[in-house]
Symmetry: C2
Subunit: 352 residues, 2 copies
């Protein structure tokens, strides 16, 4: 089969490799219907050390189950499923509490990794019963591109934005600031809108993206950054700042901006993977104003059934974050297009 491997920063190759096989009785093999490139794939694309053998890439997919291990009971061959970007048993105390990305029997696949790397024709999914969720009543052969795109976002990007909003405990009527106009930030706007936020301020400066942000529900766009951006948001919020700040970038300036625009008692919810370990949390930043810090890798599995239903009911159409569809062979060019910000988010159709 064809699969994508990364051999170092900027070095992405599509190669013919052996088909994956069931290794654990809880595994399933997925034929990938659609996969995509994630903003977080750009981190190794920038920084992966050069290596001889390469690592398999990709962690987002919808697909059809080709084979299941002997212990897989709920997921059947032929099921059309969404695969969360992390696997989990979905039965332990941590999963039941809704934090499947911290499941002691789970983990992150792909990016990098050799089990469950989805930028390929086929992939192994560990803990298939605890991870995969069937999409009821949809045949991927006849489904619209729009529907497939929206279902694919439930693997990571939309539900990561949703997780930001969920952990920020957004209540109807509140003011929300979203930091970052990437696909996750725009998803966070859409999720905040779903939760009834009254004011949604999107901090971003790429017009095509902020235009989609407005379509998703942003009431204001602030293109200024740093102190200037903070002043603008404070002005829009009566001097207080927002109840919820959804941070979808992961770099320190986005954190600093979030601290500046969160109101006393408000919540900063981060889903951009932090590219720092230490940050200000003392009296002058979080503590003095009782601001809270939340967020982490989205437990997509927790939100998946409801989100699939919302997509099927056309309540949300998060697939609009994709602005390009390519074949597997073009994945290296897709990385470059996202890195150059020519593309917002690139979908991959292995059948092309």
């Amino acid at each position: 089969m064809k699969a994508t491997l990364m051999y170092g920063a900027g070095d992405v190759r599509v190669e013919n490799v052996a088909d994956p096989v069931i290794q654990e009785p809880t595994d399933a093999i997925l034929r990938v219907v659609r996969t995509c490139i994630c903003g977080s794939d750009l981190h190794p694309f920038h920084g992966l050390p050069e290596m001889e053998h390469g690592v398999h890439t990709g962690h987002e997919a919808i697909g059809v189950v080709e084979e299941v291990g002997s212990a897989v009971k709920d997921i059947k061959v032929g099921d059309f499923v969404v695969a969360p970007f992390a696997f989990s048993d979905n039965t332990c105390e941590i999963c039941q509490a809704g934090f499947q990305t911290a499941c002691p029997h789970g983990g992150f696949y792909g990016n990098p990794g050799d089990r469950g790397a989805f930028q390929a024709e086929l992939s192994v999914v560990p803990q298939a019963d605890g991870s995969l969720v069937k999409v009821p009543g949809v045949d991927p052969e006849t489904a619209s591109e729009e529907l497939l795109a929206s279902l694919l976002t439930l693997s990571d990007v939309y539900l990561t934005g949703y997780h930001a909003a969920y952990m920020a405990e957004i209540k109807p009527g509140q003011s929300v600031t979203v930091v970052g106009d990437g696909a996750v930030g725009l998803s966070a706007v859409l999720a905040a809108k779903q939760m009834g936020a009254e004011q949604i301020i999107l901090m971003g400066r790429h017009q095509a993206r902020t235009d989609l942000g407005r379509e998703f529900g942003a009431t204001h766009v602030v293109s200024e950054r740093g102190e200037e951006g903070i002043a603008k948001v404070l002005e829009l919020t009566g001097g207080f700042g927002s109840h919820a700040v959804l941070e979808a970038v992961g770099h320190m300036p986005a954190y600093t901006q979030s601290v500046g625009v969160v109101r006393p008692g408000g919540i900063i919810s981060r889903v951009g993977v932090p590219q720092y370990e230490e940050a200000p949390v003392g009296f002058m930043s979080l503590f003095g104003k009782n601001a809270r810090l939340a967020g982490g890798p989205a437990p997509v599995r927790q939100y998946l059934e409801q989100a699939i239903q919302d997509v099927l009911d056309r309540k949300i159409n998060p697939g609009k974050v994709f602005d390009r569809t390519i074949a597997l062979d073009d994945v290296p060019a897709g990385y470059k297009a996202m890195d150059d910000r020519e593309a917002l988010k690139v979908m991959v159709n292995p059948a092309l």
Copy 2:
């Protein structure tokens, strides 16, 4: 009148000074019935630079209103009140949301400061209507020492522990770890018990204090610190850690310990004033396990009516944290006793 002033680290003096006067129409003058020394008073006691004029100290009091400014409507001369350690208008959007310590028209008094410094016979309270809360049906002249002690804790220490528990969103049946066996930590144990925590692990090593912690509801005491202490708590919590961690110290080792013992998705709630500005919050500390960080200066005013009622109903007896009562003249010795950990918390009776 007699008042306490600090002239530098370790230099606390009780002096005769002019009686305070009403300066703003929203001020009231309070005759202090009981005040006390706070763990946070020990920070300037350790680090205040030497100064010529000294600063007035103290921020916790119960007292009787002697005089009110022309704009004070609800609080009357003769009222027996609890004074929160911060003042607030209690009408603005931030106060109404329950974060009075961040009121844009409020502030912290005492410690250091010359308005509302309570280690004195008399003190000015700014924003009297928004800050003071009357204790119904109690005459401080005839009330028991036990009742006065418990009411005094509502000025700061008990409700600061309560705030830690409240912001940690403790639910019945949960596991809670309290870091620190000072008066705030013990108060946090009591508050966690009130909220229905099933397992309360107190991390502390002073037996007299941990004994009171057990009386307040601690089910386990862990005297080990650092990695050893973390391992002990993980062992007591099935390897997962606690749902809520109440950090009542403020130093970096307490933060690190809190990160180590919080379970995935759990909340670290800090009320120990951080003696650091930066701390680990990235993938390896908070983000990876979706742990949350909450807390700040307790909005005592928000919790005060209910807490006064709970004390009057004898539902809680937080005054047990006081293990000594002294006269104003003995305040310098009181600081030393707390600093030497001879005393857990020192009450001051200006009438002695």
